[in-house]
Subunit: 303 residues, 2 copies
């Protein structure tokens, strides 16, 4: 099953050339969702994502502009493009008011249902679920109410071993029963226990999206063992005081969280505009967590 992240914006509050504010497209099988929607996200979608109308769910971490100023434009463009399919939006209550008021001022009645789901960013909880994934909130520690999002694949069904299929001529009608853990009884009444005829499904993959936040250990139990951690890295360690004052993280902070959470890989991003080049940030993080890499606009990451 495909599980990819496309970085639309890797910058922080001030956009610079080739670095837009935060937005990421996550695709899990046929599900396409958007995490945050900084200004210019619709332009980045046009550049990097074929058929952005397939986005069905948008999650907004908090109401700092670099995470949502592009939302009203995208919502409006979907309308102008003739969207009729519903769009689910997750955020805190004022976000809904900001959209509604601006749509009202422009005399726009959306041609598609925009379904708003109010979230409480302070409580970790499941906010969305479909047949393939579960999405939960991860409370962050920032200057305004903020949460990250944890996207976890559901455990797939057991896989019938190919050689058993051939050897035992298991009929199609038994497949569901066996994939769900049942044993197989052949026409002669012999029972084959499930663990003999099936393999474990692949371990569910997970993506933890953590931005914006100060160094905040309470997130660790929520993201333990994740396959990929995106952790904001607004500053290098030499700007630790700025990071603390502004409730942002350094590269060291991000790496320490990744290490303590036992993440498999760490992607840093949300760089202050002062960092034209991310090499120093990556190198700093790697001193603590070697499996670190830097998000860049347009990058596609396979999980």
């Amino acid at each position: 099953m495909a599980f990819t992240i496309t970085i639309l914006g890797s910058g922080a509050a001030i956009p610079i050339l080739n670095r837009y504010p935060t937005a990421q497209v996550v695709q899990v099988n046929n599900l396409m969702i958007l995490l945050d929607c900084g200004e210019g996200t619709q332009m980045q979608l046009r550049k990097f994502i074929p058929k952005p109308l397939r986005i069905s769910h948008i999650f907004i971490s908090h109401l700092h502009g670099d995470h949502f100023y592009g939302l009203i434009g995208l919502v409006n463009t979907f309308h102008l493009l003739g969207r009729t399919k519903e769009l689910h939006l997750y955020g805190i209550a004022p976000l809904k008011f900001i959209l509604d008021y601006q749509l009202e001022q422009s005399g726009t009645t959306l041609a598609y249902p925009l379904i708003f789901h109010e979230i409480d960013p302070e409580i970790p909880q499941v906010i969305m679920e479909d047949k393939n994934v579960t999405i939960s909130t991860i409370p962050m520690n920032h200057r305004v109410p903020t949460c990250g999002f944890l996207i976890v694949e559901k455990l797939q069904k057991r896989r019938i071993k190919k050689e058993m299929l051939e050897q035992l001529h298991i009929p199609h009608t038994e497949f569901d029963h066996i994939k769900n853990g049942g044993s197989y009884i052949d026409p002669e009444g012999r029972e084959y226990p499930n663990n003999l005829i099936t393999d474990d499904p692949p371990a569910p993959r997970s993506y933890a999206y953590c931005t914006d936040t100060a160094y905040h250990e309470p997130i660790i139990p929520l993201i333990t063992g994740c396959h990929l951690l995106y952790h904001e890295t607004t500053f290098a360690q030499e700007k630790l005081e700025d990071a603390r004052a502004k409730f942002h993280s350094t590269a060291m902070d991000a790496a320490l969280i990744a290490k303590k959470a036992g993440a498999k890989r760490l992607m840093i991003g949300h760089y202050s505009a002062r960092y034209k080049d991310t090499a120093a940030l990556v190198n700093e993080a790697r001193t603590i967590f070697p499996e670190t890499f830097a998000a860049e606009d347009g990058m596609i990451v396979q999980i």
Copy 2:
């Protein structure tokens, strides 16, 4: 005196590659102003305008998103860049509320004075004036309250002829009197009438910015003889019905207004996303008004 227009966005509601939504920077001598501020304007400013913090006045024509969704981001970025100089903003009252509410939600208190000037888009009137220019509203005919803007240089003082300066040895102390239209009386009591010793100043230049609007003849007396008319051209004539239904203009409409107003040149823009190439629109307009050219993102026009 410099009088230039820099096109930041030449597209209409749906941004496409290399065509951002509406925004233009107008520079008259040291004055730098912004007309409209579609999404991504701050990115375009970074690309095309050195020192965008010099912008002192922003004028918003109407509250359709492609004309103001970039405003909140720009206002916020000016704050983050440490602006302290006041910024004047002109628009209808709800614009102020939209900004204030979003700034409040992000916990932002601007570090500079944002001075809001409410405008009535239905009445043509002077809304801003400094020593070099006068800026007035031009009521448009659109689906929501909308006005264009007319930027007119002030008539400069009369120019003392160089040969008269040398021949009559006119003292510096007489310059202001003569430049303001006075005659010169030399030490022997001989009077030299003003028209003998001065030249007319150059005719004041003017830029009429007309977007968004249906074909609307009442604007003609307000923009008569302008040096450059920017007139929205969302459609070609073959889409006349769409234009009428949506209160937009065709290339023919724009050319007809330019012709009837006796404009010196016509710049078309605000193209529907269907037009990747503007040649057909320009050619159509030129059948009526030959001095037509097409706005493109990044273009600088001298008036």
